[in-house]
Assembly symmetry: C2
Homo-oligomer: 207 residues x 2
């Protein structure tokens, strides 16, 4: 599974995690959580997948929740980065929206295991950590909402319900992580292009 994720061309998805042992444990945790769910996974399972002892795991992570929090934090940081960088490309609201959607889709297709864990296990975070992650999600929302507002203000988009449409656009991209299959017929790039077109239609973009 980590192989399939690595094949998407993302440079070192967990590269910021050091030392090597801490990184390996994180990759093992993503795989285990994606496969069996957070609650069915033990720290012993994760250590075993990483070829380490439970004692070695505790040097790096005190609890299973700490691993989930680290994954969620990095996952959300990266997703927000991808979205923000894309929305700054292009000059018109239409170009920015297309870039944001296609990048966000590619991220969710290419990193679907991470995205599933990050999206489906929010409730397993401690209250403090959940609050932190919800704030990051608000910032992703704000990126899309701002593009929609700009498009409406410029007379380029017709969007009667900006918050609702923002929610729908992000939801469409996020759900790619559920159905995307690396063995399927569409590449992440093809899905990204298709979805950019569908979203421009949603906002009745004048091109």
């Amino acid at each position: 599974m980590s192989t399939a994720e690595d094949m998407t061309g993302e440079d070192m998805p967990w590269g910021e995690v050091a030392p090597e042992a801490a990184r390996k444990l994180l990759v093992a945790a993503v795989e285990a959580f994606a496969e069996r769910g957070y609650h069915a996974t033990t720290t012993r399972d994760i250590a075993g997948r990483a070829g380490m002892s439970p004692a070695a795991l505790y040097i790096h992570y005190k609890t299973k929740e700490e691993l989930l929090h680290r994954i969620s934090r990095i996952g959300h940081d990266r997703a927000l980065e991808v979205l923000s960088a894309a929305s700054a490309r292009g000059t018109t609201p239409g170009e920015r929206l297309a870039a944001a959607v296609s990048s966000f889709v590619r991220w969710h297709a290419g990193r679907h295991n991470t995205a599933r864990v990050v999206q489906y296990e929010l409730d397993a975070l401690s209250e403090e950590h959940r609050t932190e992650i919800v704030e990051l999600r608000r910032r992703s929302d704000a990126v899309v909402r701002e593009i929609l507002h700009d498009g409406v203000a410029a007379g380029e988009f017709d969007v009667p319900d900006v918050p609702g449409t923002t929610l729908a656009v992000l939801s469409l991209c996020i759900d790619v992580a559920r159905w995307f299959n690396t063995g399927g017929t569409r590449t992440p790039e093809e899905v990204g292009d298709l979805y950019a077109d569908l979203v421009l239609r949603m906002v009745s973009a004048r091109t």
Copy 2:
């Protein structure tokens, strides 16, 4: 949780399951799987939630997978029914598409626990059962694809990629089960209406 689901006005969601004890166990299994995931739930947990003994559970269900299969089967049957009935309402492709989307969204919002279990635990089904469920999903796909084809043939829709757009429309509706919150500001009906409008825009429907 079952209370929130019952409040959506669906008549007896598991009404076809008899006797009463088998129905109670199914409701308890949906709650447990939605909360903790399939793999983290034991048949003992499910029996406990239903106020029964593990021995009483085995009278009705031989394995945990049998419970998941029953939930998936009924959930997919109902979703397909809702979609097919709605798509037969209205006369033009635009009316049929709007009815199908708003009904499918209302189902996923109102029955979000069931929908989450049904959507996220597919991999936990036995191969035979998964094949059966995949066939039901193909039939849901076919309902939407047919409306899109009819709309294109009638010159009412502009859809360059019918299979891709079918996938996106269903995905948008299904992901409502992930984010919908009974304590949130939008009712299932409001989300249904918003999404019907967004999907008509996706297909560039001429109204």
